[in-house]
């Protein structure tokens, strides 16, 4: 049942978002972003409404939705934890920070904790390399992390 509830989307509101952007050139990305903010992710039904509203094929809309790392076609946890493991973070101790996060959350990268609280993701670069190693939880970035401080950060979201 819980799964079905998640699938139910507010079609009217999705249509309104589409209508507001429909006249803009290249509207698909801004539309998908707003729809995801509304629904939490991009379920197939929402993609169909977007395709219909913008006069695009569903395959094109799906292709775009799955291309970008900030779009999700499956439900994600309440908080997305984005961990940078690019070279500048790596050099400043990211491997130890990552090991601590994996131990704390108990799930590998790309997966969501069983309680639905955290989705753990590896990302390429958060652009705050001056305070590496860095982690982003939802919209907030945390820098100069150690295995100890990153656990404290995650505790804030428990």
């Amino acid at each position: 049942m819980a799964k079905q509830e998640k699938q139910a989307i507010d079609v009217d509101r999705v249509d309104k978002i589409v209508a507001r952007h429909a006249s803009r050139e290249g509207a698909l990305l801004p539309v998908l972003k707003e729809v995801q903010d509304l629904v939490g992710y991009l379920p197939e039904e929402a993609l169909k409404r977007v395709a219909l509203g913008l006069g695009l094929s569903l395959s094109r809309v799906y292709g775009v939705a799955t291309f970008y790392s900030l779009f999700y076609t499956t439900p994600k946890g309440k908080y997305v934890v984005r961990v940078c493991e690019s070279a500048p973070c790596h050099v400043q101790g990211a491997p130890e920070v990552i090991a601590a996060i994996e131990r704390e959350l108990g799930v590998p990268f790309g997966e969501t904790t069983p309680d639905g609280r955290f989705t753990l993701e590896m990302v390429s670069c958060l652009g705050v390399c001056g305070v590496a190693p860095a982690v982003m939880v939802e919209d907030r970035v945390y820098g100069n992390l150690t295995p100890e401080t990153v656990i404290a950060v995650l505790q804030e979201y428990r």
């Binding site: 050139e25 779009f71 690019s86 590896m122 670069c125 390399c129 001056g130």
Partner: protein
């Protein structure tokens, strides 16, 4: 106008905002009010000051005293001591380590210096960053007071579009996004292209690991981008501009949007700018997390609402770019240089830098370096001057092993090349690139093969998958390096990797695949012995690669032993 006896500048760049700068600023304002100093002392929120490692930073003018790692709890004492009693608060002062000539930094005595005296600033020439950390980025008045929009006024009222193109051409300004193509020439092509509708696009999809200059320019001086784009639009005959910013750069998007709104209110954007017939407007579009969209044609695809996959060139963007129209696309830093060139002239600009790479370059210093952060220096300065002069050297008494220039797609330079001049052509000769201006410094505790694995994994992850050489090649390069870190690579693999790298460089559709082998090849060129140790002797000299034998000496040196 009110005059203040002191200005307290609080850095509000992203890196400092991760360290509770806002709480420091709020506390400062409250404390200044509580002590009845609000008429005498002004607290200003600025863009990035550059010393990210030391943040949050607070600078008190007129003296130029820099306080570091300030916490909200430090504020009452800071106000009492410095602003009330006129004494410096010793324990928060920035102290520069002064290395003896040629020596490692760890031993030298420490000295207090004001901002203008600091090694960190003395070696810098700030043209692009001239307002960063100085003005309130959310105040158009402060930008104008510091000479802002004068260049645009001059261009529109006293110069023809062709004259603007000529001036930028004469300045020798080259694209700061990495490729180094002459900006004036790009504008000339776009200006001469046939078509009524043309676009100017600002590439702010800064995704190169180790690079955060565009973010901090956008946060610290957003009006400089608007003015640069308006100048470009006037020069090529565009009426609409787009800024494509990474979706992760929330503060940049916010500050730029506020700046655009203010510029519109002041009629510096919109219809009939400066009473002329020149109309120009700017719209922000945000990315959705794809490194490849920093490539210009992939960026167009994304802006048009598609998958960010690069197009085949030609046609070049200046003939057929965004929505198939002639488009000039420039990097943030390039556009931030333009207003200064128009205001002061090409000859002035050529007074900085080298003959073939005039002007200044913004670098971001990361890794094992004392002053991690943001700097701007004349082109042609040596790597040694940047790292050991401005950067303060390698911390913890370790020695320098290598620097990667230009981000993850750049080449790695060993100690023997520390005196290479940092400009487009000299770096290319050394097998590296100026690229985005990222400088990642590594000390002798790091394993070359392990870091090459990190580079390779990045490209495997970020390849868009459109063309085979890149999609399959990045996967195989990563496989090779990962095997090497586990002692499973063979000498035969090395030959295969070289052949594969050549194929990728020649046959990949865009610079991502063409550049993906560069970091691997440069580490093979300069640190071949370390690869041989991993491959032939199954041994990791730094003890980083677990599962391989490690000499006891390396274990204790790296602090990894029992």
């Amino acid at each position: 106008m009110r005059l203040f006896r002191a200005h307290v500048l609080v850095c509000a760049g992203t890196n400092c905002s991760l360290k509770s700068n806002k709480a420091v600023q709020d506390r400062l304002v409250r404390e200044v009010e509580r002590r009845g100093l609000a008429d005498e002392i002004k607290v200003v929120e600025t863009g990035c000051f550059g010393l990210c490692e030391q943040g949050p930073t607070v600078v008190v003018y007129p003296e130029g005293v820099l306080y570091c790692r300030v916490t909200p709890d430090d504020v009452p004492e800071l106000v009492e001591e410095h602003l009330l009693k006129g004494r410096r608060l010793d324990r928060l002062l920035y102290r520069e380590e002064v290395p003896a000539a040629g020596a490692a930094v760890s031993a030298g005595p420490k000295a207090f210096q004001t901002v203008p005296e600091m090694n960190f600033f003395r070696g810098q020439v700030r043209i692009v960053l001239r307002n960063c950390g100085i003005i309130d980025p959310e105040s158009i008045e402060e930008y104008i007071a510091n000479g802002g929009y004068e260049a645009l006024g001059k261009a529109i009222t006293a110069m023809t579009p062709a004259a603007v193109v000529e001036e930028v051409k004469a300045s020798g300004l080259r694209g700061r996004g990495g490729a180094g193509f002459p900006a004036g020439l790009k504008w000339e092509f776009a200006a001469k292209a046939k078509g009524d509708t043309k676009y100017i696009v600002c590439n702010a999809d800064e995704g190169e690991p180790g690079t955060f200059k565009d973010r901090l320019i956008l946060e610290g001086d957003p009006h400089a981008i608007i003015e640069g784009m308006a100048l470009a639009a006037y020069a090529i005959g565009a009426t609409q501009g787009y800024v494509y910013i990474r979706g992760e750069y929330g503060l940049s998007i916010d500050r730029l949007q506020k700046a655009i709104n203010r510029a519109k209110e002041m009629k510096l954007l919109g219809r009939g700018i400066f009473g002329s017939k020149f109309d120009f407007d700017i719209e922000i579009r945000t990315g959705a997390g794809a490194y490849i969209c920093g490539e210009e044609t992939a960026l167009f695809e994304s802006l048009e609402g598609g998958r960010g996959e690069p197009r085949l060139k030609p046609p070049y963007p200046t003939d057929s770019g965004l929505f198939g129209k002639p488009t000039a696309i420039n990097n943030v830093e390039t556009l931030a240089s333009v207003a200064q060139i128009i205001a002061n002239g090409a000859k002035w600009y050529r007074g900085f830098g080298t003959e073939r790479s005039p002007g200044t370059k913004v670098f971001t210093l990361t890794g094992d370096i004392v002053n991690e952060g943001l700097i701007e220096v004349p082109m042609g300065i040596t790597l040694r001057e940047i790292i050991f002069g401005i950067g303060g050297g390698v911390p913890n008494g370790r020695s320098f092993k290598m620097a990667q220039s230009g981000g993850t797609s750049g080449g790695c330079l060993p100690a023997a090349l520390l005196d290479v001049p940092m400009d487009y052509d000299e770096l290319a000769k050394a097998g590296a690139a100026l690229g985005s201006g990222a400088l990642l410094i590594m000390d002798d505790t790091h394993c070359i093969v392990d870091i090459a694995r990190v580079f390779a994994r990045f490209f495997m992850h970020e390849s868009c998958g459109k063309c085979v050489p890149c999609r399959e090649g990045t996967f195989r390069l990563h496989e090779f390096v990962e095997n090497a870190t586990k002692g499973k690579a063979t000498p035969q693999d090395l030959q295969t990797v070289h052949a594969l790298a050549r194929t990728m460089a020649l046959a990949s559709l865009c610079p991502l695949g063409q550049a993906a082998p560069v970091p691997l090849l440069s580490t093979l060129q300069y640190f071949r012995d370390e690869y041989d140790q991993h491959i032939n002797e199954k041994r990791c000299p730094t003890g980083t690669c677990r599962g391989l034998a490690t000499p006891a000496k390396a274990l204790s040196a790296a602090g990894k032993g029992a």
